[in-house]
């Protein structure tokens, strides 16, 4: 089960490592850690977002140990994708390994392809795909778009982005 947690760490050396210990102990598989040193809370703590896979029965143990270590657990297990974006792909979307294209986004840990619609008018003709990507933040949306642009160049796909994407 994939989950996410928002933590707040004291701004002293060793805290990040300390916060990861319980995940190791309860066999959690950490997918991504985003450490926002530049965005301190009014309390002077450092926000950290952790995405991980774990047996759901262990989640309470992880939370308790984190708290015992003096780490604030702000949120756990809820939907962490707060931003989303729509993108169109045109070209040989399927034959250039659509699975790989999606994986390139999903493997980031901070974004996922949540919706996919495909139109294939005929063999040899270009297909069109609509993708909705969700991510943990605006910066992560922009990073996902960069990945898609790169994939588009490599696979000769036309990537059509929404206008508001560049504003965010």
């Amino acid at each position: 089960m994939r989950l996410s947690m928002d933590l707040e760490l004291q701004d002293v050396p060793g805290q990040l490592l300390l916060s990861l210990e319980p995940f190791k102990k309860y066999k959690g598989n950490i997918i991504s850690v985003v450490h926002h040193r530049d965005r301190k809370t009014p309390r002077g703590t450092v926000p950290v977002q952790i995405v991980f896979e774990i047996d759901p029965s262990n989640i309470d143990n992880v939370k308790r140990e984190l708290q015992d270590n003096g780490i604030v657990v702000v949120r756990a297990g809820e939907d962490r994708f707060i931003e989303e974006i729509s993108v169109l792909l045109i070209g040989h979307v399927v034959h250039t390994d659509l699975g790989d294209t999606i994986d390139r986004i999903d493997s980031t840990g901070f974004a996922e392809v949540e919706d996919l619609s495909l139109r294939m008018p005929g063999i040899e003709e270009p297909s069109s795909a609509y993708l909705r990507i969700r991510a943990t933040g605006k910066e992560e949306i922009e990073k996902s778009l960069s990945i898609l642009r790169e994939v588009g160049r490599a696979k000769d796909l036309l990537v059509i982005e929404p206008i508001e994407a560049e504003k965010i």
Binding site: I90, S117, R119, E161, P162
Partner: protein, 333 residues
């Protein structure tokens, strides 16, 4: 009454429109204190000259100056020889070398004549050079009609939004592409079918590359970059993707999710590419319309829309430019 002697260089669709608008609006212009007289019309076949002002009836139905011209001079020579205050340059555009318009505009400005043009090529190739030339000679170069046709964009920024910092301009600057994409969306036409329809209606050229490959839009992006953002951009600085690869299926997928696909030009990022535009966005205009959203620091975002091409529409922007030259305080004489 201020009398203005105008040399018209170029006798195509826009040239005809200029003669027509000057004729139609003669009384209105006179009430504004301007007596606009087109004293010469020049194309590659020759020049028709009449010191008292050419009666448009004389040119009725004529496609070229052949058989009508009373002087053999053309091009720069005509600009030099004919005594005029202002040159309207409306010859066919070439975005690569800017000629023949570039030479015409240089000649006119060097001779101390104001220039009003709808010709993008010379401005894409040599905007900053031409502006300097105008300044050095104490005259004005006006070019509202080059971007967005009749849609007031340059003058809106220069006059009404003066004092604002312009953060970005993005919009649809090519009516042909907008028409094709609109028809593909509405009728589920393929790209090639929609293009054929546009060609039959005279909206697209026989060789559509200039429009559909985004070249025309990129030229406008260069003009905006140099004129509004003070950049020294060239055509090659623009990242350009056209609309040839768009499929009706993609447009349909976008529509179902609340989007349209439009060819969007953007400054100062210098990009031209198809983009998803929310259906409720002010940029979501259809048919041959052009639209531009100007993002400013003080006034927020302002959007203008209007017809981007057409004989009378483009001529209207040209005549507005002429009037603004003679109502501007910078010009005292």
């Amino acid at each position: 009454m201020r009398s203005v002697r105008i040399s018209l260089v170029g006798f195509g669709i826009v040239g005809h429109g200029v003669l027509e608008v000057v004729r139609r609006k003669r009384e209105l212009l006179r009430r504004m204190g301007l007596d606009l007289k087109v004293v010469s019309v020049t194309d590659i076949k020759g020049t028709l000259f009449d010191e008292g002002g050419i009666d448009p009836q004389r040119l009725h139905g004529a496609k070229t100056m052949e058989g009508i011209a009373n002087l053999e001079i053309i091009g720069k020579e005509a600009i030099q020889e004919i005594d005029s205050d202002l040159v309207v340059e409306v010859t066919p555009t070439n975005i690569v070398h800017g000629q023949p318009g570039l030479g015409h505009i240089e000649e006119a400005l060097s001779l101390g004549k104001h220039v009003v043009t709808s010709n993008k090529g010379p401005l894409v190739v040599g905007f900053n050079h031409l502006q300097e030339l105008a300044q050095d000679n104490g005259v004005m170069l006006k070019y509202e009609a080059t971007v967005g046709g009749t849609m007031p964009l340059i003058s809106l920024i220069e006059k009404n939004l003066v004092g604002n910092e312009i953060l970005s301009i993005r919009g649809i600057f090519n009516g042909t592409c907008n028409y094709i994409l609109t028809r593909m969306m509405e009728e589920k036409y393929t790209y090639s079918y929609a293009l054929t329809e546009a060609q039959e209606l005279g909206i697209a050229e026989a060789n559509p590359a200039y429009d559909v490959d985004g070249i025309d839009t990129a030229g406008k992006v260069v003009i905006l970059a140099n004129s509004v953002f003070g950049m020294d951009a060239k055509y090659d600085d623009v990242s350009v993707t056209g609309i040839r690869d768009i499929t009706p299926e993609a447009l349909n997928l976008a529509w179902e999710r609340g989007y349209l696909v439009k060819l969007i030009g953007e400054v100062p990022s210098l990009t031209v590419k198809p983009m998803l535009v929310p259906r409720r966005s002010p940029l979501a205009v259809g048919g041959t319309l052009n639209v531009a959203s100007i993002e400013t620091d003080l006034s927020g975002t302002i959007t203008v829309t209007g017809l981007g091409a057409g004989s009378i529409e483009t001529a209207s922007a040209i005549v507005s430019d002429i009037v603004s030259i003679y109502t501007s305080r910078q010009i005292d004489d």
